[in-house]
């Protein structure tokens, strides 16, 4: 590997950070799309220089930007996200039925093999697909039209589809998660979907074990073992060993099991990372100490990783799309904060350092190991 590229989306623009394989010194370029919210950027696994970015604004709506040169230059592509047919309704905060209305793209997931194919997870929750490099987008409407759709409701951040996991071993299998509907799986490339929330318990619901309605914050998977999923729920860290058919709690000795991010070590499928956050009412680390927790046993047994992270007076948050790992050896781990810092560890979490510290609030972090 010759280097690493980190793609950072913030409240006010995108930044591209690059380093060599040692990951000690970083060059920062940007802001790109200054002043716009960049919910997410991601590169194609099939062509690392093909990048996609979700650019949005409360004033001027949604744009999708594409780069074919690793982020040096960008061009806007298609921004027309229209629900298929009659959109139908979902629950609103006050319990009334509200029509689906497109607001923004939260997450872009490029195909594992085709640089022109990208999935987009949007608010109000649905999944779109482009197969022409972002110029046109079509809804995979089977998800939104699942019979449970009218019971879905927005979380505090909106009714967003924020997680898209593509199974490398079964091309038709996709996992997605929605706040606050829960997790779903398709085995036929998006035609039909199944809620996969059995084992989740949410005391905030009238029926804590309901089929849908859970506020799933993030799901992670190791590509070598796609049947094993890890979830950071609103509260609770969960694990599934059967592709989501059932879940069990693995919060173990975490000091708090609320949080947003979760990720898996690039080379150790049983090593996972979370950043515990105090509570749903207090979106900052417990006791003002920013700590990543690592489990080398796939959950339940967790160790605090603190070296290089602020251990006093730290009250930032780490949002759901703001953690990533690289594929170098040792594995690099990265996360961004609402305070504008991006922290990186080049030794699988043992030690950390900020690689940039004064950006706008970080919404997302993705990392590419470059050939």
């Amino acid at each position: 590997m010759s280097g690493v590229r980190a793609l950072v989306g913030t409240k006010k623009g995108a930044f591209v950070l690059t380093s060599d394989g040692k990951r000690e010194r970083w060059d920062v370029s940007g802001p790109y799309f200054a002043g716009w919210e960049i919910y997410h950027l991601k590169g194609s696994p099939a062509d690392p220089n093909r990048l996609y970015a979700s650019q949005s604004s409360g004033w001027f709506g949604q744009q999708i930007q594409r780069s074919d040169d690793g982020g040096k230059t960008w061009e806007p592509v298609g921004n027309k996200f229209v629900y298929d047919g009659v959109p139908g309704t979902h629950q609103w905060y006050d319990g009334t039925a509200r029509p689906w209305e497109f607001k923004r793209v939260w997450h872009l997931e490029p195909s594992l093999k085709n640089p022109d194919a990208v999935y987009a997870g949007v608010e109000d929750a649905s999944l779109f697909l482009t197969t022409d490099g972002g110029h046109t987008w079509n809804e995979l409407a089977g998800l939104r039209k699942h019979g449970s759709g009218p019971r879905w409701q927005p979380g505090a951040g909106g009714m967003c589809l924020h997680t898209i996991l593509l199974d490398p071993s079964e091309p038709g299998r996709i996992f997605i998660a929605i706040s606050a509907a829960g997790a779903f799986r398709t085995d036929d490339a998006g035609g039909t979907w199944k809620p996969i929330n059995r084992g989740l318990v949410s005391a905030q619901l009238p029926d804590p074990t309901a089929e849908v309605g859970h506020c799933v914050h993030r799901i992670a998977m190791h590509p070598s073992r796609p049947g094993v999923l890890f979830m950071q729920k609103h509260w609770d860290v969960m694990r599934s060993d059967d592709a989501g058919d059932s879940w069990r709690e693995v919060s173990g000795n975490l000091p708090t099991d609320f949080g947003f991010v979760i990720d898996v070590h690039a080379h150790e499928p049983e090593t996972i990372y979370v950043v515990p956050i105090k509570s749903d009412g207090e979106h900052f680390p417990l006791d003002g100490k920013l700590r990543v927790y690592r489990s080398r046993t796939g959950g339940n047994e967790w160790e605090a990783l603190t070296k290089g992270l602020p251990q006093r007076d730290c009250y930032v948050n780490v949002l759901r799309d703001a953690m990533a790992v690289d594929a170098l050896d040792p594995c690099g781990v990265y996360f961004g904060t609402t305070g504008g810092q991006v922290y990186a560890s080049a030794d699988a979490g043992d030690s950390w350092a900020p690689i940039v510290r004064d950006l706008p609030g970080v919404l997302s972090v993705e990392v590419q190991a470059l050939p």
Binding site: G58, W59, F60, G61, Q62, Q63, P76, N79, K80, V82
Partner: protein, 99 residues
């Protein structure tokens, strides 16, 4: 010749400097101006009006001759001063702080 002033974010998106000038064949209305504008700069589709309904986005405003025309019907004629190019048609990002 119609003169259109875009907010900075949209000028950047459309790669334009300063005012945009448009020639319209028919009546000068909001709809006619925006159709012509989006025709020349397709990237602006969806940024000023909703793709499907063509309604003005909530935080976009239209000003002309020191008046707020945001709530005018889209096919209402605009003042002669706009039609002759004496005054520009302003597309404005609403004064809303956000975060």
């Amino acid at each position: 010749m119609i003169r259109v002033v875009l907010p900075a974010h949209l000028r950047l998106l459309a790669h334009v400097d300063g005012e945009v000038t448009l020639d319209l064949a028919g009546p000068v209305t909001q709809r006619a101006i925006l159709d012509a504008l989006e025709g020349r700069y397709p990237v602006l589709r969806g940024a000023i009006r909703d793709h499907a309904t063509l309604r003005r986005r909530p935080f976009v405003r239209f000003f002309a001759c020191a008046e707020d025309r945001s709530h005018d019907p889209p096919d209402a004629p605009l003042p002669d001063a706009v039609a002759t190019g004496a005054e520009p048609f302003l597309v404005v990002g609403a004064m809303a702080g956000g975060c």
